[in-house]
Symmetry: C2
Subunit: 416 residues, 2 copies
């Protein structure tokens, strides 16, 4: 069995505002900050929390498609915008579609485990509001098997993929309860986001979120057959950053152990990009990665008090709850309807709003999840802080790429 050969911590984290439609300061025609700005802001936010920024040994950037959204590759070499001392040090970009952020976290963890870094600065970033939504959909379709599927596929490639999943789930497990659960997921996401000033839905003032969702019937002529636009995560610009540390690295930062979380297990799994999922109602790869992470940590899902799942669509959130073992196959909708995933429920999921509420700057999301678990487990979450019972001291995230084709999962617990 895979083991942590040494202790690894997350000692600091930060995220920028996730910008896009819905935010008051967003205007589609006005100039906006670029990649450099977001990388610098999130990275500096982390370095401001430690005593010596020059102590950082290396950088890792998670990014999916700056090559098309911004025509910019080679982001690893852009880390010097965070701090000049990073010029000269090792740094690279990793990518696995929307799991790019999760992969960046794992890459830093391995670097520390390998004894090649004591402090690894991870930044996930994406700036997507550079093109119209329909072109953006073509860009994001590069997370699927483009050559084989793009021409025959839906113009909104990924919404259609997850609409198919929602349709199959409705068919097998009940249309009404599924649709209601999707509505509750949307409601929960926006409610959480309203407590988080950096969230894209922070300014959302809709009074009855649930019924607004329920009455917006999916329309295959204008969008997709089984989901509406509220079921979709947002097109966002933003970045998130964390600092991954060895025991020695933690000391160097001047932080107390109580200000850090320990990484106790991680999993990373893929599925064949050129093939289709066996069962549309199951997120197999997410399940595998989460099981690996929990197994490595030697804990069960009942030991976990706070969850971050990849709700690129509301249906993905429901399926992810099943994949993590919160609910059995086909029981995820009821689980969400029971209120168990709400911030006041026993297993709060996506407490800062998730991809639907906080926003989804694709390459940033996995790092943002790690950042949010750090915030929650160290009690630094501010208005969106949830109570984590002492008998469930762990947090888990599952960062998913494409149609459940690459997934990274990490389990943390409060250090001390």
């Amino acid at each position: 069995m895979r083991k942590m050969q040494k202790r690894v911590y997350v000692v600091a984290a930060d995220t920028t505002v996730f910008l896009g439609t819905g935010r008051k300061e967003f205007h589609p025609k006005k100039p906006r900050p670029g990649l450099e700005h977001y990388i610098a802001e999130a990275g500096k936010g982390v370095l401001a929390q430690i005593s010596d920024p020059e102590a950082v040994d290396e950088g890792v950037v998670g990014n999916f498609m700056a090559s098309r959204f911004n025509r910019q590759g080679h982001l690893g070499a852009m880390m010097a915008v965070v701090h000049p001392s990073l010029a000269g040090k090792p740094s690279l970009r990793v990518e696995g579609a929307c799991a790019s952020g999760g992969l960046a976290v794992v890459t830093a963890i391995k670097s520390v485990l390998a004894g090649q870094a004591d402090l690894s600065l991870v930044v996930g970033v994406e700036v997507q509001n550079t093109v119209k939504a329909i072109y953006g959909a073509d860009i994001l379709a590069g997370a699927g098997h483009y050559a084989a599927e793009r021409k025959s596929g839906h113009a909104y490639y990924f919404p259609a993929k997850f609409s198919d999943r929602a349709g199959e789930y409705k068919k097998r497990f009940g249309a009404e309860r599924t649709w209601a659960a999707m509505g509750r997921w949307y409601e929960q996401a926006v409610r959480n986001a309203r407590l988080n000033p950096k969230a894209q839905e922070f300014h959302n003032t809709t009074t009855d979120l649930f019924s607004t969702h329920q009455t917006m019937a999916p329309n295959p002529k204008s969008f997709c057959e089984h989901i509406n636009v509220l079921d979709c995560s947002k097109v966002s610009d933003g970045a998130a950053a964390i600092l991954v540390a060895s025991e020695e690295g933690l000391k160097r930062t001047g932080r107390k152990k109580s200000e850090a979380v320990e990484l106790v297990g991680f999993g990373h799994s893929t599925a064949d990009l050129t093939a289709q999922p066996d069962d549309l109602t199951v997120l197999d790869t997410t399940r595998r990665a989460a099981r690996e992470a929990l197994e490595m940590a030697g804990v069960a899902v009942r030991d976990v008090g706070v969850f971050e799942v990849h709700d690129c669509f509301t249906i993905s959130g429901i399926l992810a709850c099943e994949a993590l073992g919160l609910a059995g196959h086909g029981e995820g909708a009821d689980y969400v309807l029971s209120g168990a995933t709400r911030r006041d429920g026993p297993t709060p999921v996506n407490t800062s709003g998730g991809l639907v509420g906080f926003g989804h700057p694709t390459g940033a999301s996995g790092v943002r999840m790690a950042a949010d678990l750090w915030r929650q487990l160290t009690g630094r979450a501010g208005d969106d802080q949830v109570k984590i019972p002492s008998e469930r001291p762990h947090g888990i995230f599952a960062s998913m790429g494409g149609n459940d084709r690459t997934v990274v999962s990490c389990v943390f617990r409060r250090a001390a």
Copy 2:
């Protein structure tokens, strides 16, 4: 000082033909194989050399710009085309412009050092002949700081950057000897490529390579001020693969130690992408990475018998010889003119043709360098085998991204 915490080996390697202008089978208008083909061919070429392909633990893909050349991201999840057993296992893509292949090698090394893999399959790939050269130049400009530099830059962004380097080197160290050395580099590259059936210049039949180069005066109106088209590496489609192993992994493959090379040191350095090089006649980042690699290996350049440098342009090859310590600052041109870097010289460089002769499928080149060192050090290089003196049993590569902004260097020696 950084140390290898355990032994790491390369136990097998393979490359595809590097396809593009110059190859007899290449026709710009005819359909050609895609990414899937190249990943599968190189990967299968490696797995065919070991007893149990299912023993591989993970995949790493080095790729620079499939997102634009092929609109395809998420290549880590494409490794199942090599072998179905790779579906489910960890796999990711790493990127750092033309150093993407080198980064993939380092990422696998760290995974093994971290105890997370005993056998890591690394594939570097790029398929670039999908667009005309002038559009390709725009795509490759994503290795520089696109937002700041592209509009004001030369249409052939990178050729112009290295033309500036050549111009400065000519000015400071003598125009005639520099131009002659660039011609000799071209001659050496094609001569080596003629011994390598997979090289893009394998079919080149020019009789007097040197004078062909010398008489083609650089023309700023049609191309660049200080280099001609023969000074440039090729636009290529291709892939290279290696298998990185722990001691335990090596045993699992059924290979003898004499069939493997040991990785004894590696370096990885970056420079600020948003800044310009201090001195155009120096490859600072290459120098740093190579020094780190040699230092970690505890050897000096005089202990190295075979070299792979990133000659994206002939001038880069000359500068890289200086950066590796083969010649002093400003003495690289004379060093090349002396014949020292030829296959029958004391320090053979780029024995299979290098980027100018073998070709430069960008994301593949760093992996190809590692593959070539494995071939040379284990005596499996075939027609392009050089004699490696027993007192210089090491091989080194330096894989460079952009204008010397990300560099990975590795030092190997024959195992046994």
